[in-house]
Subunit: 336 residues, 2 copies
């Protein structure tokens, strides 16, 4: 709990010199800087957060709003929270949590109390009420995800269309002429933003390449993945030699299990590519090729943009798309 005053005295300089030495906002002679750094170390000095917030223009805190919705997938969500925190720490920023009701009311609160420098918006819904709020408050905000109405907002997301495109292209290059998509349950195509984008990219690219494209949106409510199993059978009977998966963790497992039960080898008989997964597709047996949604990539970019906004730099509003990357784990091959 040493104060800047004590550091200054110990180093034999003024407090303003200490402040500048620490912030680096003014050139300090190497010698002086040495003495100050040593004093800081010896006293284990850390600037008082409150004083810094009051005197400076920065709080060094970002709010993270995350309404835990009923359909929120906990592991994926946790990965994003973690990634955000890691990204923020790289700029010496902390994360303040705004959950549930507070996800909206809290945005107002922290904005007018000057508790944070900006807001990171997680778990974005198509008709998210935080869209209006973000426009109303004076704080910079960055959405991790894309609401339907995002005029003037800064959003970050994986380029899901390009991801599906990439998956289809890789399969086409190997010679596949008929590909199936195992998607989320139908409801996800109304309540979420990205499933339709995957589907669109899938269908568009297939059309461009003159490839047969079939889509199955199995309901996952069935026992033991009955819906998913039926979807797989339908797609294969329809002539598909490859499957693109855009579904959750367990559905991936069910697909592999169904193929195994049918005695079809991966990738010998059927090729598989996962799109937009946040879990580790290499952990399956066999490992599955993937064009993943990488939380750290999204959150790094989001925090970068938030920092720029805090600095007062101009940031183009709109959706900042992250380029998809293909991860090869050996689950695709030419069709039999």
């Amino acid at each position: 709990m040493a104060k800047i005053h004590e550091v200054a005295k110990a180093a034999g300089v003024s407090i303003s010199t200490v402040s500048y030495a620490l912030s680096g906002k003014r050139t300090i002679s190497a010698e002086t800087r040495q003495r100050i750094e040593q004093a800081v170390r010896e006293l284990d000095y850390r600037p008082n957060a409150g004083a810094r917030m009051l005197a400076g223009r920065r709080t060094n805190i970002f709010a993270l709003t995350e309404p835990f919705r009923a359909d929120t997938h906990a592991p994926a969500h946790m990965a994003f929270v973690l990634a955000t925190s890691i990204a923020a720490r790289r700029f010496d920023y902390d994360i303040l949590l705004l959950t549930e009701e507070e996800a909206s009311a809290g945005m107002r609160r922290v904005a007018s109390s000057g508790l944070v420098d900006g807001v990171l918006v997680l778990d974005v819904a198509p008709d998210d009420e935080r869209v209006d709020l973000a426009r109303r408050i004076s704080l910079p905000s960055v959405f991790i995800g894309v609401p339907d109405d995002h005029d003037g907002l800064v959003c970050v997301d994986l380029d899901f269309e390009a991801a599906a495109d990439l998956a289809v292209t890789r399969l086409a290059v190997l010679g596949h002429r008929s590909i199936g998509l195992v998607g989320h349950p139908p409801v996800a195509y109304e309540k979420s933003n990205f499933p339709p984008r995957v589907r669109a990219g899938f269908e568009r690219r297939a059309a461009e390449l003159g490839i047969a494209a079939a889509v199955a949106l199995p309901d996952q409510a069935g026992q033991r993945g009955a819906g998913v199993r039926a979807a797989v059978r339908d797609l294969l009977e329809g002539g598909a030699t490859a499957l693109v998966l855009h579904c959750d963790d367990s559905a991936h497992g069910v697909v592999l299990d169904e193929l195994a039960q049918q005695g079809r080898a991966v990738p010998g008989d059927v090729s598989i590519v996962s799109v937009g997964a946040t879990f580790d597709t290499a952990a399956f047996h066999p490992p599955i090729d993937s064009v993943p949604l990488v939380p750290q990539a999204s959150c790094d970019l989001a925090v970068d943009l938030a920092m720029r906004l805090v600095e007062g730099d101009v940031v183009a509003p709109g959706v900042h798309l992250i380029e998809p990357v293909f991860h090869d784990h050996g689950s695709i091959a030419p069709p039999p």
Copy 2:
């Protein structure tokens, strides 16, 4: 972004009166209070967080340290984070997230920078490194969970022994004389704190009542819950007429599925009670009686204690146990 000065002017009083009116630390005439409250509302005034931290003795922020361990169960963890946040808001406190490496280093950092008033420790391991840290820093801290060495620390947790005791007692009252425990995988009994406590409570109470008690700690690595299924078969063949479950979500499902396959009815042929679950056991088919671990209960108590510590009140160090509650969903009955 109105300031206290403007509120004072608008209400025709001094700033100290405004401050006292808001904090309630001094009696204000009803009339004056009215005018101030109106001014506050009209200007949408909120005290500046930085100024408050600097001038007052409080930051109104708690740090929440949560190292996302490899074996952290995401949904349960999320429930605790959420519950902590809700509990804190009731005292007008916010939650600052300290994740991963920062879970420890961050404790030091926020302590010496005066960013928070206290630390809530989540996801506690038996040999948690944050134990030493908590003793070293000057901030109040409350552990949600119990480390092996908790001398002088304030900890909060469900009374797992009493929970198992309660489950056994209920079954004994109905006439069961042989009960089986389906537990976590063996490794959990070394790496976690509470599984042994459930086991101990289970065995002790059974011994007291002269009831046969068998324990199975199935490995969950097997395909389709093979380990859990084998455990259920063993216990029933051993004569058990009731099962106490202390295992994860999916293992619960497997137990029910195995019983169904064996053609045994619940609770007609076999009674079942879940102990220490954080998920909704009433959602199974059939619904399962439960002595749950309720995140909100733990976190409410933890925040209560943290508040008392912040206020300077004396809080008895040691483990503050939460009394278990039995939730009846109709899955227990007299033995056949």
